[in-house]
Symmetry: C2
DNA sequence: GGGGAATGTTAATGCTGTCAACATGGGGCA
DNA sequence: TGCCCCATGTTGACAGCATTAACATTCCCC
C-alpha cells in the first residue's frame, strides 16, 4: 500500500511518510539533527504539521528515522570506499588497505556530510520502539548518484549501525588472518578501531580540529589510522 | 535557590550572572546541553526569564558559558587523575602511568558526568565572542567544596579546552623523553591520543557501547589506551 | 455504490527564546 | 546629606515549536 510515486490527488499525498523522512534528512544534511524540526519538514512537503502524526509518534520518531538513514548512508560510504581499494597480490597488504579505506570512508563521510554524520550519532529523546512491519518493500535502492536526491527509502529492518560494524569486523578478521594483527589484540579490536576513527571525526566536526587546514587535517587522519594499525599489530 | 553571597534585597540579586551559570551547569549536568534552557535557569534562581538578558546575549551565550565551565571541570578531572599516579622509580613507567591516568580521567569524567561532558563538546549556535571585562568581580570566588562545587565563576580568560590539551602535550613529551614513543610518532601524537580517548567516551555515551556492562566497558577503555600506547611506541 | 478507516486539516495549549516598555533602588555626584 | 541616573529586574507580548483534540476528505473493500 505504500505506493511510492506520486499518485497525488491533492488531498492524500500518497507517500507522505517517505516524503517527510526525505525532507527531514535534507534538513539534517544541512544543519544537523537540531535542525530536524517536524513543522519545517511538513512545510517543505506542502502538508500541515499535524499530518506527520499520522505516520510518526512525534518529532523524536522522525529524528530516529533520520538517524537510521544516516547510519545506512555511512555504511554505504564505507562499503564503497572499501570496494574501491586496488587489488593486491599480497593479501596482508590488501587487508591493510581495506582497513584504511574503511576508516577514511567513515571520516570522509563525517567531513563531507557533517550534518548527516552528527545525526547518525545524535541522542534521540525517547526510543520510539515501535517497529512497524513494512510489507513488501522491494527497495531498488539504486546506487544513485548525488547525495541530495534520493527518495526517502529508508531501510525496512530496524537495526541501526549494524552494517558498518559488520564491515569493520570483517576487516579486522582479515587483518588477523594475514598476520597484520597480534592475536591478543583481536578481542576488542572493533571497539578500539571504531573509537579512534570516530574520535577523529568528532573532533574535526565539533572539537579542536575544526578549523584545521585540510592538509593538516588529513595528516591527523592518516596519523591516527597508522597508529591504530601499528598498535593492533604490536604484541 | 543557590544564592551565593550575602545578597541584597529581594529586587537586586547581587550575583545573578554566576547564579544563572550555576543553575545552567546543573541543568547540563543532569540532562546534557539540550536541557540548558534559559527560562528554567532563571526560574531556579528565582528571577524572571528576561533578567538573564542583562547578563547574557541570549541562550547561546549562557550555553557557551556552561561549555567553558565543563571544559574546565574536565581538565580538573584529568589533572587530578594524573596527580594521583603513584610515583615510580622508572621514569618511563611513570610517564606511561601518567598518560593512562589522563585518558582514564577523561573517559571517567564522560562516564560519570555525561551531561557535562557532552556540554563540553556541544555545538553552540553562534559564537558569542564578547568578552566583557567585569570590573568589580574581584572577590575570592570558589573555594570549592560541596556538591555543586564551584560557583559559576568561569575562567576569566576565554580559551576553552586549552588546559586539557596542555596536559596531554606534557604527557606525550614525557613519553617521548623516556623512550616510550617513537620520535616519528610525536608530531601529531596529541591528535591521535585525543581522538582515541574522545572516541571511546563518545561511543560509550551515545553510541554502540552505551549499554555495555561496566566490566566490559572498562575493558574497552583499557584496550583502547593500550593500543594507542603501543601504536605510538611502534616505529 | 455505500460506509468505515486511513489520511489530512484547522484550532488550541503550553513550552521555548527574545524584544519592548516599565519599575526599582543603589551608588555616585553635587 | 540628598538626589538623580542607570544598572538591574519585572511584566507583557510575539513568534516558533511539539503536541492534542475535533473536524473533513477520500480511498478501498464489501
Amino acid at each position: 500500500m505504500v505506493t511510492k510515486p506520486g499518485s497525488k490527488s491533492g488531498y492524500h499525498h500518497g507517500d507522505l511518510r517517505n516524503a517527510l523522512v526525505a525532507a527531514a534528512v535534507e534538513l539534517a544534511t544541512q544543519g544537523g539533527p537540531e535542525r530536524v524540526v517536524l513543522r519545517e519538514a511538513a512545510r517543505r512537503v506542502g502538508v500541515s504539521a499535524t499530518a506527520a502524526y499520522r505516520h510518526f509518534d512525534g518529532q523524536a520518531d522522525l529524528l530516529w528515522e533520520v538517524k537510521a538513514h544516516a547510519q545506512v548512508v555511512l555504511a554505504d560510504r564505507m562499503e564503497e570506499a572499501a570496494r574501491a581499494v586496488a587489488e593486491s597480490t599480497d593479501p596482508g597488504a590488501a587487508a591493510t588497505s581495506r582497513f584504511l579505506a574503511l576508516g577514511r570512508g567513515y571520516i570522509g563521510f563525517a567531513v563531507e556530510c557533517p550534518g548527516l554524520f552528527r545525526s547518525a550519532f545524535c541522542p534521540v529523546p525517547a526510543a520510539a520502539a515501535a517497529d512497524e512491519d513494512e510489507g513488501g518493500d522491494g527497495d531498488g535502492d539504486g546506487d544513485g548518484g548525488g547525495d541530495g536526491d534520493g527518495p526517502g527509502t529508508v531501510n525496512g529492518g530496524r537495526e541501526p549501525q549494524a552494517r558498518s560494524f559488520e564491515l569493520l569486523v570483517q576487516s579486522l578478521d582479515q587483518l588477523l588472518a594475514h598476520g597484520r594483527m597480534a592475536p591478543g589484540r583481536r578481542p576488542l579490536a572493533e571497539a578500539v578501531a571504531w573509537s579512534a576513527v570516530h574520535g577523529v571525526a568528532e573532533l574535526i566536526l565539533e572539537g579542536p580540529f575544526a578549523h584545521l587546514p585540510a592538509e593538516e587535517r588529513d595528516a591527523v587522519i592518516e596519523s591516527t589510522l597508522s597508529v591504530v594499525l601499528a598498535g593492533l599489530a604490536a604484541p
